[in-house]
């Protein structure tokens, strides 16, 4: 395998990425496969037998299972070896996250503990803090929580009221305030928490549950993930030793946002695992459920559901592992000194903040789609608590809210890209400005595509990039710095970018499979990409036209709409047969088929 080329964050929009440049699940090493197996076995043998009991929030059970996960190394993939972890690559973390994705509320315990709970210390803790906390977090002896949200500061997280004041003897910070919705609060020992020093400087602290003045409120009744603990955290003259201040005074936002980036990608990995669980549950039921004297899996509409679930999950999975590979490649360029610095690592990951938001939104919405169809395939039984579909449906909903709501993540995608464009980090504007010129000479009828699989889809992905850039460029031109106020337009740009990353990730992965295994062995993946592109291009065209219709008027608008139409020109293919073929494969294997 050759070296993968390193792209900067968002560069996929303006560059041609080749199959050889991306990491795919087909590139797993033996170790990745074994790690996946261990995590999967752990979920099957330790979690699933307790899945109903876990809903009761028994701290002893949760902590016992967490310790067991720790014993197997499942909590330490991101923790460096010198602090009791394994310091593995990000693909390994993704593999574990994916396997954990079907563990119901334990997924949440695991996700909050290893992600937002532990990582602030990994990346921004002092040597002393790392030594004191990480070994016990990696082993699962202690559980971690993360306290950013406040009653009055949710999406607007920096607007925190919690205040920290240095004590007279200079040994403690005295913290006052209230945090809201803190996952793991009922059984965590270690809380990463943000407060404003002197009411001004947003700063991270590590707070232990036994520090005086620290307490948690009552459990909050929730729609789903009933087995996770969610409580307010209350600080009443809480005494936090000065050595537990994290990183630097006034640099808390750096910790908070970097950790969110990672949390978003990890959430993507976990939702992908959840989608696979839905497919498996749905297909097994559909094969056994007889109506009109035949299994309902023989009905075309049920097949469409099974196939669409599988296709979207394929895109989601392709995106998650592509992004994990991008992290690993980028982290691989750090020199020995930088590798040891958590802040440098976090900076390398921050490069892909747009991709983190993309995978978070796509992953959570893909899971939402899958849980909905899972319930639907089970009919009335899907609505009843006796079947897991009902829990899946409720548990899924939170994923569009936490780790940044999908709205704010949608704003962050174009927002971050535009900022980088203005900083000269990303050549977006030049690329966008070139499009009107290109359009004049472009004739879709004159396009000669090579006679090879997915040539048309590759072409359409390229055209989609041009459409998205064109809309973003024209909107930027029109609104300038006020563009941030045009959320409706930005959301459509974000949606186009998300779909482009999805289509491209599936496309490149499939081309890689064709190269390594031949076209015949890739036939279902090819059908998946062909179908997905077919479904997506008309939507992209519609979003672009709707956005432009707001941005421009009259003749200019008409010219632009004609341009979009030209770029999006596409003749539909037979997706019914393809969906059936994919569904039949799902039915044959009784699982996610790729």
């Amino acid at each position: 395998m050759g070296e993968r080329k390193i792209f900067s964050g968002g560069e996929f929009l303006i560059s041609d990425v080749t199959p050889a440049d991306i990491f795919t699940p087909e590139d797993f090493t033996d170790e990745h496969k074994m790690i996946y197996q261990t995590a999967k076995d752990f979920v099957e043998k330790e979690i699933m037998p307790n899945i109903d009991k876990l809903e009761e929030k028994d701290p002893d059970l949760v902590l016992r299972l967490l310790a067991k996960a720790g014993e197997l190394g499942l909590l330490g993939t991101d923790v460096p070896e010198e602090y009791g972890g394994l310091g593995l690559d990000k693909v390994s973390t993704t593999v574990v996250g994916e396997a954990m994705g079907v563990a119901g509320s334990f997924t949440v315990v695991y996700g909050a503990h290893t992600g937002i709970g532990t990582l602030p210390i990994v990346f921004f803790g002092s040597e002393d803090q790392k030594k004191r906390y990480l070994p016990k977090l990696a082993s699962g002896e202690w559980c971690a929580a993360y306290c950013l949200t406040e009653p009055g500061a949710g999406t607007d997280a920096l607007n925190a009221k919690t205040k920290a004041v240095l004590s007279e003897d200079g040994k403690y910070y005295i913290l006052n305030g209230e945090k809201m919705f803190i996952t793991n609060a009922g059984w965590a020992t270690v809380f990463t928490l943000y407060a404003k020093v002197d009411g001004e400087h947003f700063t991270g602290f590590i707070v232990e549950k036994d520090f005086p003045g620290f307490s948690t409120g009552a459990e909050i009744d929730k729609m789903g993930v009933h087995g996770s603990s969610t409580r307010p955290v209350i600080l009443e003259d809480a005494k936090v030793p000065v050595e537990n201040l994290m990183f630097e005074i006034g640099k808390g936002h750096k910790i908070a946002f970097n950790i969110l980036n990672i949390g978003r990608w990890k959430l993507g990995a976990m939702t992908t695992g959840g989608c696979k669980g839905c497919i498996e549950g749905a297909v097994k039921y559909a094969k056994g459920r007889i109506q009109f004297k035949v299994p309902i899996s023989s009905f075309g509409m049920i097949k469409t559901k099974l196939a669409d679930m599988a296709i979207r999950t394929y895109m989601s999975e392709s995106m998650m592992y592509r992004l994990a590979g991008m992290f690993d490649d980028k982290l691989g360029t750090l020199d020995a000194e930088a590798k040891k610095s958590g802040a440098e690592n976090a900076k390398a990951i921050e490069e892909y903040a747009p991709e983190c938001s993309i995978t978070k939104v796509y992953g959570s919405e893909c899971l939402e789609y899958c849980v909905d169809e899972y319930v639907q395939i089970l009919g009335g039984y899907g609505y009843c608590a006796e079947y897991p579909a009902e829990r899946y449906y409720r548990d899924s909903r939170i994923n569009r809210i936490w780790e940044g709501t999908n709205e704010i993540n949608r704003m962050l995608i174009p927002g971050t890209l535009m900022r980088r464009a203005l900083q000269g980090r990303l050549n977006l504007l030049q690329a966008a400005q070139a499009i009107p010129q290109e359009l004049m000479s472009y004739s879709p009828l004159a396009v000669q595509l090579p006679d090879e699989p997915l040539a048309l889809q590759e072409h359409m992905v390229k055209m989609s990039k041009k459409i998205a850039l064109m809309v973003a460029g024209l909107a930027a031109q029109k609104f300038g710095a006020d563009l941030v106020k045009e959320q409706e337009v930005l959301a459509k740009v974000a949606d186009m970018i998300i779909e482009i990353f999805a289509m491209e990730s599936g496309l490149l992965r499939t081309k890689k499979i064709i190269e390594s295994r031949g076209e015949d062995k890739a036939k279902f993946q090819i059908a998946a990409v062909e179908t997905y592109v077919d479904q997506t291009i008309p939507t992209i065209e519609m979003w672009a036209k709707q956005a432009l219709a707001y941005v421009e008027q009259g003749d200019t608008l008409r010219t632009q709409l004609a341009g979009v139409k030209k770029l999006a020109r596409y003749t539909p293919i037979d997706t019914v047969s393809r969906l059936r073929a994919i569904a039949d494969r799902v039915i044959e294997l009784e699982s996610y088929p790729f």
Partner: protein, 264 residues
Amino acid sequence: MNIIVCLKQVPDTETQIKIAPDGKSIVEDDIKWIMNPYDEFGVEEALRIKEKFGGEVTVVGLGPKRVTEAIRTALAMGADKGILITDDALEGSDSLATAKALTAAIKDLDYDIIFTGQRGIDDDLGLVGASVAEFLGIPHIALGIKVEIADDQSSVKVHRPVEGQTLVIESPLPVLITAQKGLNEPRYASLPGIMKAKKKPLEEKSLADLGVDASEFGEAARKLKIIELTPPPERKAGKIIEGETPQEKAAELAKLLHEEAKVL
């Protein structure tokens, strides 16, 4: 105490088996391969003995390159060394030939106990363990569910279930024991174990390396030939018993069990 465990790679029990067009083999395309579960009991037992008495655990696998995965899993569980016997000439070998090749790889190693699974869950023959013991000229105890090593490490007592009773068999070492379900609960390959396994020695040996004659192996040398594979018969549709009252239904059920199913 040095222990050898023989490993086979078999299709995952959840794999849907499809018979190949030749009618004599299975389609391998969609198969997920796993370590034979009975061999896994052997690995676990070997590791427990090693943890108690010290020594080394060597796993020996045979088959195509993919068998490396099963060997690596055993190394990740804690075994020390792996040997993979792989050679195109082995393709299609029967149990006896497999046992010959394993014997050739084992005979010059230093061992006190050899574990094999009591059978492979794929072809269910259960011949390899006994054959290896025979070729090596050592005692063989089948179907062990408990293994007790004497304190002086010179002999072993093996418990074996017989019709609800237990037979306790004693043997001097070295001995070959085939592992039965119930022997233990195999451990997971932990992540640290997986990373360590990467650095453990895994040797590949061809038939020439083992100094045996390739003509004794493979399809042509088979003493047992597979003539035909047939899938299990399709299950017949169930029958729903009609009746107004539970009494009526029960009477009808008893009648059918007696007259149709002939089990009463």
